[in-house]
Symmetry: C2
């Protein structure tokens, strides 16, 4: 029985950054999430891939202890995305998107997972997100991602999904768009009134804020000297955040704050190489060392 069920995309990405180019590398929101969470807990991945999905990638995911019973294999091709980053490395310009087998993805939760405690609904159609929730039995915590495409395109369906979400993880522009409020404090309150008791606002190089019933917490991003490829950093953050949370017995404010820092630590490693390359060699002591570096980065004394 995995502790976290993640539903989302598995893809092959082609990425160009000012520092290099990589083609057909393993990507997708659910992939990054699963690998990051696997440092803390057991994960089950519900997604679909095509006939061209490489066995080495399956083996890699299995080597991380990720349960692949929910990974469907279809006859078409695997989801492809290609994008390019400019100097600022904050947002990719999408060059091509080929949904391929992902276009007809209708997530089916294996019977054995229906009692799972933690769920992460990756950035997919809010109608599909809701269908996932209808297949599981009262999870302890439902976390969810979404994007402008759904905020604009399926606002009613998204609102319906949000009513059943505990933690929403989106970026600052999405928070503003979803709420219709420019001020982030007001925007956060409006989003929390839609259902999620906790809102995590991802701000890329500017860090993360979390709004809960108990207050607000702000963490900076780790100041990296070499941001090689930020693709997947947001999903890696989410995986580190939820993975850590699932591994503790707490869900209060203090645990949420530690989880935010843990997610930020994982995300910082993700940016240091193409694809999941840095996560391949990452160790628990390295993660804990970076957590301590976050403490150095943010500590200051009382007056």
């Amino acid at each position: 029985m995995p502790e976290i069920l993640v539903v989302g995309s598995v893809a092959y990405d082609s990425v160009k950054t000012p520092f290099g180019t990589a083609r057909e590398i393993l990507g997708g929101s659910a992939t990054y999430f699963s690998v990051a969470a696997s440092f803390f807990t057991r994960v089950s991945l519900v997604a679909c891939v095509g006939h061209d999905f490489r066995s080495e990638d399956l083996l890699f995911l299995e080597s991380r202890g990720i349960d692949l019973a929910g990974l469907e294999h279809h006859s078409g091709e695997t989801f492809r995305w290609s994008g390019e980053y400019g100097q600022d490395m904050n947002t990719a310009q999408t060059l091509e998107t080929h949904l391929n087998v992902f276009a007809d993805f209708r997530p089916t939760i294996p019977e054995a997972y229906r009692e799972v405690d933690f769920i992460f609904l990756g950035n997919i159609d809010p109608t599909l997100q809701r269908s996932v929730l209808s297949q599981v039995n009262r999870p302890k915590l439902v976390a969810c991602d979404t994007m402008n495409f759904w905020i604009d395109g399926k606002p009613k369906e998204l609102r319906e999904t949000l009513r059943n979400v505990h933690v929403l993880l989106i970026n600052d522009a999405e928070t503003r768009e979803l709420s219709g409020e420019w001020n982030l404090v007001k925007a956060a309150r409006a989003v929390r009134e839609m259902g999620p008791r906790t809102l995590v606002v991802k701000k890329g190089e500017h860090g993360v804020m979390i709004f809960t019933g108990e207050g607000t917490f702000a963490a900076p991003a780790f100041p990296l000297e070499n941001v090689f490829d930020p693709t997947g950093a947001g999903d890696t953050f989410a995986g580190g955040f939820l993975g850590y949370l699932a591994s503790t017995s707490e869900q209060g404010d203090a645990a949420l704050r530690r989880a935010i820092v843990m997610g930020s630590a994982l995300a910082s490693f993700c940016c240091e190489a193409f694809s999941l390359d840095r996560l391949l060699t990452l160790t628990r002591p390295e993660i804990e060392e970076r957590y301590r570096q976050f403490q150095d980065l943010t500590r200051f004394e009382s007056l």
Copy 2:
């Protein structure tokens, strides 16, 4: 004998924000700086105003204990600036700038201030900044602001000034432009090699970072529910930062971090009303309470 000497502009601003309009209100970099610093220490203001400068504004500055012996009164009109903010409230669009008497400002440091310990060189021509330094006798700490206009327009003169600056306070775009490096960590190192042992990078709503020989510290901006007018927030930050630093006997890493948070606290109040209005009624207990709120905003436990 004041503890801080500030050289910069005193102006009348006309500001339009989504929340209202104010005309001919007291502003200018040296004004905001002085008033913020006056909560912590004695300040002497070196600037110039025109015949139309209002006596009530002189009285207000004096009421803050600011020494005005270095404030020159010229026969022309006081510096005027007008600008407008959109919804994002991060950057003003300048509508008009009339330098007026400020165009011929050649700062003269009164004899009595030449042994001052702390100097803040507001955002003026780097040649004038250097002339200020040539008139004082080895201050303990020279802090300096500048902007894109000088980075582009007088790069050699600015470099010459920076060689004699201990603390440079600029924003992230200016840090990148001055260094020619996009990555902020590399950019900060390059700027510190130009002279300033300490670089403070102001990021508006995303907070502040400080790069010193001992490491890096990041503080968020205070999440305000009502940003009414951000004009002067950067100078108010600088005044709170340097004022606090001048009021302590320390200048090490721990004191710099507390000073960054103190500057951030002052800047957050500045944004809550037009002009210096919020600072008029601000009390020391309110400042200390906001400092504690910054602790709540950023604290997290060890693993």
